[in-house]
Structures are given as structure tokens and as C-alpha cells.
Subunit: 133 residues, 2 copies
């Protein structure tokens, strides 16, 4: 893995309330606003995303309870599907827990999730529609 | 606030275990390794920090329980002490909960913390020793 966080995602309980907070109070820019149940803010070299906490936990294959899921994931995007597989294979061989095996996503990409020692979740993702470092 | 996350901090239970994970398994670079009870990884345009979860909660003035604290904070660094005050004043007037009032820090800087609607913690910090966008 290259040293990079591509997206910080906050699992939120009310996306409209949180969108208002980050757009109107904090003042972060969003090109498209809420798109369905997600919103992205452009933080120059990275993105901040807001997404349903329930769905974020579901996407990472963990339960949405207070102790098991912090509500935040860190995304690390790569340039090919093969890189997703290679990174996950290497982590698995090192004994790391893979919560979501590499697989095609509903949005046309390919991703997987692993957990760090405290249960923090990292998504390794290939997104054919955009490349953001 | 400019659109920027400067540091993602993970509150960890065992910094040695987590440092080994991020340095040896994930492969993130750290200039100085563990310094006392904290370590910084250089992620190009931002930093990833590991810090005692107990101390991170204490620093942000929240309790370290499963439901009240996710274990992650997002840092937004500014160029002057006055900017810390100005941002916090504006947020307070907007009804935002300030968990830590602007104050001098033990490390020679000046910081404050606020909570977003889900309790996620943002540190607004002025650090006289470094300026990282």
C-alpha cells in the first residue's frame, strides 16, 4: 500500500442533518450535494464522505453496534482490480482479518475491507470512473 | 474552515501492536517512529496518527466508552492562534457543541475540539512547530 488515505467516511444517522452541518456550518464544498444516500466533499487531496451508518457497516460486513463499529472507515483507492487482490492477499497472509473479500460492487467498482488491530476498517477499492490520490 | 483534513488520528489500545501493524504490515512510512505515546505516518498530503485511545478521549474532553467516542478524531490545522478562536466562535454561534475550549496545549500549540451531529470529533489546532496542509 502506498501512503495515502483517499476518503474518510463518516457513518451518520441523518444524512440531511449532517450534510447541512458540513456544507452550511463547516463550509466544505460539495460538487453534487447528496446523491441518493451519500455525499462527497472535496478536501483538495482527499474526500470526506457522509453515508448512512447502517449501510456503511453493512458495506464493510460488520455489525452496527456501539462497540464493534466506530462509524468511520478509511478508504485507500488503487489503479487496478489486481492491486485490490494483491493487497488483500498480502494482508491475509500476515494474519489480518478480511471482513469483506474482494468483489464487484454495485457501483461498478471492486473492493474489499480489512480491520486493523482495534477494528478500524480500511476499504481497498478500485473505482473505474475516477482516480483520486 | 478551508476544505482540509490534516490528520486522521486512531485511538488505539496498544500503540506498539498498532505501530507494528501500520509500519510492518501496511507499510506506511514514519520518520521518527513512536515518540513517547504517539506516532505519525506521513501520508503525502496528510498524516495518520496513532495515540492512546484513553488519552485521545481525554484530550478531546469526552469519555472513552463504546457509544460516546468512536476512537477517531479529525484534525484541521490553521496558521494562527486567532484562527482557532475565530472558527470556534463561529461554530459556537451556530449552536455547535464545543467539547474543549481553545487553550494552550502541553506541546506548545493551541487547540479546541468540537463535535459534529454524530459526535465525531474535530480538533482545530495551531501548531507553531510545523505547518502541514
Amino acid at each position: 500500500m502506498e501512503p495515502r488515505i483517499t476518503i474518510v467516511t463518516l457513518g451518520v444517522n441523518n444524512i440531511h442533518q449532517s450534510y447541512d452541518f458540513y456544507s452550511k456550518i463547516v463550509g466544505f464544498p460539495s460538487d453534487k450535494g447528496i446523491e441518493g444516500d451519500i455525499v462527497f466533499f472535496n478536501l483538495q487531496h482527499m474526500l470526506l464522505a457522509l453515508f448512512s451508518k447502517d449501510k456503511l457497516a453493512e458495506d464493510a460486513r460488520v455489525s452496527n453496534d456501539g462497540t464493534g463499529f466506530s462509524g468511520i472507515t478509511l478508504a485507500h483507492n488503487v489503479k487496478t482490480r489486481e492491486e485490490v487482490d494483491a493487497i488483500i492477499d498480502k494482508l491475509r497472509k500476515a494474519g489480518v482479518t478480511i471482513t469483506k473479500e474482494p468483489q464487484d460492487t454495485e457501483w461498478g467498482g471492486y473492493d474489499a475491507y480489512f480491520q486493523d488491530p482495534d477494528g478500524y476498517l480500511w476499504e481497498i477499492a478500485w473505482n473505474p470512473y475516477s482516480w483520486i490520490e
